[in-house]
């Protein structure tokens, strides 16, 4: 029986970042879905909670931190693994994200090695061999 792909919601107001992240996530055998801001992401989570969320900080309508705080208060909102993915590098900001319930934190710019490494740190490296094959 085929293993169900894990879903990863990519939340970023930059279409280019979403495209790059989704390409890498597909190579990692994730099934990516996209949202352009926190409110859109919240609506999608209410319809279907993803396994993982790659979350930008600064976005219009609802920013990443507000989204994360709201998500963690929702029924089932503790389940998705949340990785912030942002240009914010200040230690105070990083601590704020972790306090709000982020599992990991990626500082932009990033590459595929960083994404793979960070997903491995939160226990989502199950398809690493497949990804290696895809990249060869």
């Amino acid at each position: 029986m085929a293993r169900r792909s894990k879903t990863c919601l990519v939340v970023d107001d930059s279409k280019m970042i979403r495209r790059v992240a989704c390409r890498i996530l597909r190579e990692m055998q994730f099934e990516p879905v996209e949202a352009g801001n926190g409110q859109e992401a919240m609506d999608m989570c209410e319809a279907h909670m993803p396994d993982a969320i790659l979350l930008d900080w600064n976005m219009p309508v609802m920013d990443g931190l507000s989204f994360l705080k709201a998500l963690r208060g929702q029924p089932g909102g503790d389940k998705p693994v949340v990785l912030f993915c942002t240009a914010e590098r200040d230690v105070v900001k990083i601590s704020e994200a972790l306090d709000a319930g982020a599992d990991e934190y990626i500082m932009k710019p990033f590459d595929s090695d960083i994404l793979v490494s960070k997903f491995a740190l939160v226990g989502l490296d199950i398809n690493a061999p497949d990804r290696q094959a895809a990249l060869r």
Binding site: D90, E104, I114, A120
Partner: protein
Amino acid sequence: MSDVLSLKPAYYEALKRLTLELAGIKLGADHTFLVETRLAALARKEGFEDLGQMIDELFSRGETRLAIHVVTALLQRATAFFEDRAGFELLGDVVLPTLHPLYRGGVVKILSYGCSSGQEIYSAAILVDKMSHVFPDLAFEFIGVDYPSDALERAKAGRFTHFEVQRGLPIKHLISYFERDGEDWVVKPDLRKRIKFIDHNLLADISPLSTYQVVMYRNHLSQLAGPARVRMMRILDRLVSTHGVLMLGSTESLGKMCYGFDETMLAPGCYQKRARQDSPVSEQSG
């Protein structure tokens, strides 16, 4: 780009011999491009007009310092924090608990042999710091040893790029043990001062070094050519203290020649030094 792919075949053969002699590693015939790009960068840094001039200088004058820099530039590899994560789990879950009753009240010295830019030994120090409550009666020393190189200088400075600190290092460890300095991240002084780095030819006489309770030589052994591998095993045999542990990569093994180590692995890639010195290889030979 035109002067990058300019190395004469005779020079490439000479570089292969040099690398084998100094580091015990056999370069493949297909490494030409890697060799030329890395050495072209070194040539610029060393103030030569081009790669050819540097290689001429190297083989006409035989300057040892330049030879070592050439070889380390060729062999430099990208490393990551907590690389081969299973090995660090073994260090915390198996190796240190095995050594704890033997060294209670004493010092456990952890050596990263071939430490490159230092991620391995910094990772070990972070792991031990996180577990300090488990081993309150043990003191630890951390030592990184490698050929003199830019990578080793960066290890000494504890300075890592934005990309390097995001490979393998959990974000909580980053903000606990590093501080930002412009685009880079630098190991905080409290951790950095606990680690000593030593410039040393890994295949040379080890009398300047000590013996260590844990020697990490992970994922290097399989790269060595036959005679260098034998020589390295003699060196590792002497570096690991009695009852100490040699950590190879989790998929590496000593094979049939166990030298001074137990034949049964403590864990994948981990060998404990026998209490009795019954290595089949003479300590004085080679």
